[in-house]
């Protein structure tokens, strides 16, 4: 009995050390990223005034872009999304909607709304994919093509879109997203400006819930009603404004949201396109592109820009959020394990030495440490290893640091974009940033641990997250 207690004490001690190490590493990394992002975003905001978007818009040199929209059972949002794409302010755009064997009215709605005619068009596959079963086109809307295919999953639909696309760059968009009018132009801007081949250009994804959408455009930005949605807004601000900005500054982008990202087509094809072996094909393709470019010793860069905005619907119930986060975690672990040879590999530069270890140990396995902490810290107190005051203080420190980082995200938003116009919205965001660490964070950790367990079980398929666009009529909040 005594030896069992000793063993528990020994394990608890080791784990306590791991938790302390994790705490300092994770929060240290986030703090560094936040500082870098403050500088970058501040500078970017100042530069926007003379960016010359008008010149890019009018230049014959601006390259065309194919926008690929994979859609599976998206009847509620697909028309809104395509209309927002058709209204984009970009000189040469090709929109390819790939209906991935929807069982609802997605295809019918598209055909009826845009008066599409089924045609026999040619598909010359360069990436392996399920062959398309039908093409739909309207000669009066030459930029829009709808491809129908048997269900094969999102990566397969994206690969079909790449095969059909004709432009040197393609942009992936989720079918439940609404893009701002000039977002594609802003996303392509760093590609055009750079003297180095920019193979990936990602933009920021913001939460549409609560906003007012009219004719495929977000006309009024509001906070959603439910607390779970507001917490996600704070989370997105933190993740996009200082997470991805910071990694981009270090040229170590490992995650680019497939909901809104531009790829250099030839590079993506050479990297093998979107793979089927992970449930987060967007993260996987970014890693594959890095691998290819480093292996071929080609000069390249990736870009993340904070003002081209893609509005997306976030889960509004705990059940949906759980499904989403489990999938993200499962995909992240699958991807880092697939590309684990890049880990601490100096050949991959900051990606291999900083970003991938961060994604693996902090974002990937970190949830286990945090989850373990929630169990072991009280246990170590019960075992008498940690005095009550130290135990409580340590928990408090973890929470206040989390709050500090979230408030940092809100401040970053406030000094730059100020998307939420009402003072009350700002105060609410600050409040939610403070309360995020008391309940919501623990719930997310739990979902992530479940995602990890799914990985250990060898699950390959992902739980479908069916978002409900709560737009009864145009002009009402989503």
């Amino acid at each position: 009995m005594e030896s069992l207690r000793d063993l528990v004490i020994f394990v608890t001690n080791i784990f306590n050390n791991i938790i302390v190490l994790y705490f300092f590493l994770a929060n240290g990394s986030y703090t560094v990223l936040m500082v870098i992002s403050f500088v970058h975003v501040w500078l970017y905001q100042m530069k926007v005034g003379y960016a010359g978007l008008q010149e890019v818009r009018e230049s014959p040199v601006t390259p065309p872009v194919s926008v690929i929209v994979p859609a599976f059972n998206e009847e509620a949002s697909i028309i809104l999304t395509v209309e927002s794409l058709l209204g984009m302010d970009y000189p040469a755009i090709e929109i390819i909607v790939v209906d991935d064997g929807s069982t609802d009215q997605t295809l019918t709605k598209l055909v009826e709304h845009f008066q599409l005619i089924r045609m026999d068009l040619i598909c010359r596959p360069r990436l392996p994919c399920t062959p398309p079963s039908a093409f739909y086109h309207n000669p009066h809307i030459p930029s829009l093509t709808v491809v129908s295919k048997p269900n094969g999953g999102k990566p397969d639909a994206l690969n079909v879109g790449i095969n059909v696309s004709r432009s040197p760059y393609f942009c992936t968009i989720d079918a439940d997203c609404v893009l701002e009018k000039d977002s594609l132009l802003r996303l392509m801007y760093p590609v055009i400006q750079s003297s180095t081949n920019t193979v990936i250009s990602a933009g920021i994804v913001r939460i549409l819930n609560g906003c007012v959408v009219k004719n495929g455009e977000v006309t009024e930005i509001r906070l959603p009603e439910r607390a779970i949605e507001k917490f996600q807004i704070v989370e997105y601000l933190r993740s996009f404004l200082f997470g991805r900005t910071g990694w981009n500054m270090l040229q170590a982008t490992f995650i680019a949201s497939g909901a809104f990202c531009i790829f250099h087509k030839e590079t993506a094809i050479e990297a093998g396109g979107f793979g089927h072996d992970t449930v987060t094909e967007d993260i996987d393709v970014v890693a594959s592109v890095h691998r290819l470019m480093r292996a071929k010793k080609r000069k390249y860069r990736t870009s993340f820009t904070t003002d081209p905005v893609c509005w997306t619907i976030c889960p509004h119930t705990r059940e949906l959020l759980g499904k989403q986060r489990r999938r993200w975690q499962l995909g992240l672990i699958q991807t880092v394990m697939k590309h684990n040879d890049m880990l601490f590999n100096y050949k991959f530069g900051t990606l291999g030495l900083l970003s991938l270890p961060f994604q693996t140990f902090i974002e990937g396995f970190g949830c286990l440490v945090e989850f373990g902490g929630y169990i072991l810290i009280p246990l170590s107190f019960l075992l008498g290893l940690t005095p009550l005051d130290l135990f409580l203080l340590f928990v408090l420190l973890a929470f206040v640091y989390g709050t500090f980082l979230s408030v940092g995200g809100v401040l970053l938003e406030e000094i730059t974009f100020r998307r939420y116009p009402k003072m009350m919205d700002l105060l609410r965001l600050l409040a939610y940033a403070a309360f995020e660490n008391f309940g919501y964070r623990q719930m997310i950790v739990l979902y992530r641990v479940q995602g990890f367990v799914q990985y250990l079980r060898g699950e390959k398929s992902w739980e479908l997250v069916r978002h409900t666009v709560r737009t009864g009529t145009e002009g009402t909040p989503a």
Binding site: M119, Q193, R418
Partner: protein, 527 residues
């Protein structure tokens, strides 16, 4: 470490983090309050400035008086509003001269020029020569001011200065921007180059071309697209300046120079058809004597498009040659270059490209023929009817559907009695009467033969003329795919025209018989 020490460290950390967190929160609120106030003031200032400027523009007097009247605007939002308003008015050709004079009188042009030139190295080489030629009489500020400028004018400020100078064209601005092209910061250089391109002053073109060469040779940090965007804004009259770049030993320089000339020519041709007289004799000679033979296929490809703008016999002959070039993308560009009614004489050669090995050339050829107008379309339809090549048929078929030519062609069929369509003799009669009918019929027949019937079936279900539906039904009668059967059934049940319903029913029964026979034959073969 003692437990007490750990506790005090943790408490310290908590306090620091709490103070920082609360500080960031307050900073957010403070920022919101001050920005709201600032923008409220700015809006009020904008209104005030608008009223002031409106009255000045309504009764324009001496510039000095206008500036005197504007002296009441002193606060930061007022100055910002005034700057915005004047820069906006400078974009309007009517208001530009007065706006520029006011801006100059306010001393802003000089201020921006000082800022832009504050960190740039002393001009040398070509830029120095050009500044002398342009009469640059810039006087550097005194030492103290120079030191202040050096400290204040960071690259963002210099970029902004350059941007503003570009929006209010003036000799002082052009001189400063020329100096700015050698600024230590690439972003400042980029803005200067961009605005020099927008102003398109022929005097500055050599500097931009020099920059292009530097970019291609890897001596400049600028992006090729940026410098190209600047260069393509110049006029057709200025392309003589490109001669040196066009003859540069580096093939990439030649390629970019040719491509820029192509863009300039394309832009001009959008408003009026060009001829060889729009180009200088040197350029004409260079393209007709050298470039179609250039060792670089990229140059030959881009040259094909420029040559196509000459619109003379020689250019047609050269295009004919380039249509058969060994490199596929030269053939593709030459085909695209011939996509004009004036190149209808080349239609036969373009038709040849419909059987090209490369699908991009085939696609370009089908598009080019359609762009050649009705006669070009006839060429592509004839080619489709007679072609035995699977890939050619596939390509033309796609173009007929995508471009809407198929629908247009069917719409243009002369209206005829429903009964006549079903008679074989009608074909002969109509072919004499109207070739369009025959052509459409043969195209439909070929589409059926190649199995590309999806769109025809869709048209049958749509609101098109009954006589066209009858024609389609007659041609599709042999098809017994599930889609055909379904379409015939829908037509037989729902079409408003009784003739169409009857014919569709007949087509359905025939197709069903054939489908059954085929299924039984397949079953028999299996057994």
């Amino acid at each position: 470490m003692l437990i007490e020490e750990i506790i005090s460290t943790v408490v310290g950390l908590i306090l620091i983090v709490v103070v920082l967190g609360v500080g960031l929160g307050f900073l957010s609120i403070q920022r919101r309050v001050t920005r709201t106030r600032y923008f409220r003031n700015l809006d009020a200032s904008r209104q005030q400035v608008k009223e002031l400027l409106d009255s000045i523009y309504e009764n324009p007097g001496p510039v000095k008086d206008a500036v005197q009247a504007l002296q009441v605007l002193r606060s930061s939002p007022q100055r910002r509003a005034l700057e915005e308003a004047l820069l906006r008015r400078a974009q309007d050709p009517v208001h530009f001269p007065f706006a520029r004079d006011i801006i100059k009188e306010l001393g802003w042009i000089q201020k921006w020029a000082h800022e832009l030139r504050s960190r740039a190295p002393r001009p040398k080489g070509r830029i120095a020569e050009m500044l002398v030629e342009l009469g640059d009489d810039y006087r550097r500020p005194n030492l103290l001011r120079r030191i202040v400028l050096r400290l204040q004018a960071n690259f963002v400020r210099r970029c902004k200065a350059s941007d503003k100078l570009g929006q209010v064209p003036s000799p002082e601005g052009v001189w400063a921007m020329l100096v700015g092209t050698s600024d230590p910061h690439p972003e400042v250089q980029e803005i200067c180059l961009r605005h020099l391109g927008q102003l398109a002053d022929p005097a500055t073109l050599p500097i931009l071309i020099e920059e292009l060469i530097a970019v291609v040779e890897g001596r400049s940090k600028q992006s090729v697209r940026n410098i190209k965007t600047s260069l393509v804004q110049f006029s057709l009259e200025d392309i003589g300046t490109f001669t040196a770049a066009l003859q540069h030993p580096n093939r990439r320089v030649r390629f970019f120079a040719t491509d820029i000339v192509r863009e300039i020519a394309d832009r001009h041709s959008a408003s009026a058809t060009l001829s060889k007289n729009d180009f200088s004799p040197d350029i004409y000679r260079l393209f007709t004597e050298k470039f179609h033979l250039d060792e670089s296929p990229d140059v030959r490809a881009r040259a094909a498009v420029v040559i196509s703008h000459f619109h003379d016999d020689l250019s047609a002959a050269l295009l004919r040659k380039l249509l058969e070039d060994e490199a596929w993308f030269v053939r593709m560009h030459a085909t695209r270059a011939a996509a004009h009614k004036l190149y209808l004489p080349l239609a036969a050669e373009v038709v040849q490209r419909l059987t090209d090995q490369n699908w991009l050339v085939r696609e370009a050829a089908s598009k080019a023929l359609i762009q050649m107008g009705d006669l070009g379309a006839d060429f592509i339809l004839e080619a489709f009817i007679h072609s035995q090549d699977h890939y050619t048929n596939e390509q033309i078929c796609e173009e007929l559907q995508r471009s809407g030519l198929l629908v247009t062609m069917l719409d243009n069929i002369p209206s005829m009695g429903a009964s006549a369509v079903l008679k074989d003799s009608a074909l002969v009669e109509r072919s004499v009467e109207d070739e369009r009918y025959t052509l459409a019929l043969l195209v439909v027949r070929k589409m059926v033969a190649t199995g590309k019937i999806t769109m025809l079936l869709m048209l049958l279900r749509g609101p098109i003329r009954s006589d066209i539906k009858l024609l389609l039904l007659r041609e599709l009668m042999g098809s017994y795919t599930p889609e055909s059967l379904e379409t015939f059934e829908v037509c037989a049940e729902t079409d408003p025209d009784p003739n169409v319903r009857t014919t569709a029913l007949y087509a359905f029964q025939t197709a069903l018989e054939r489908a059954t026979a085929a299924a039984m034959a397949a079953e028999g073969a299996e057994k």
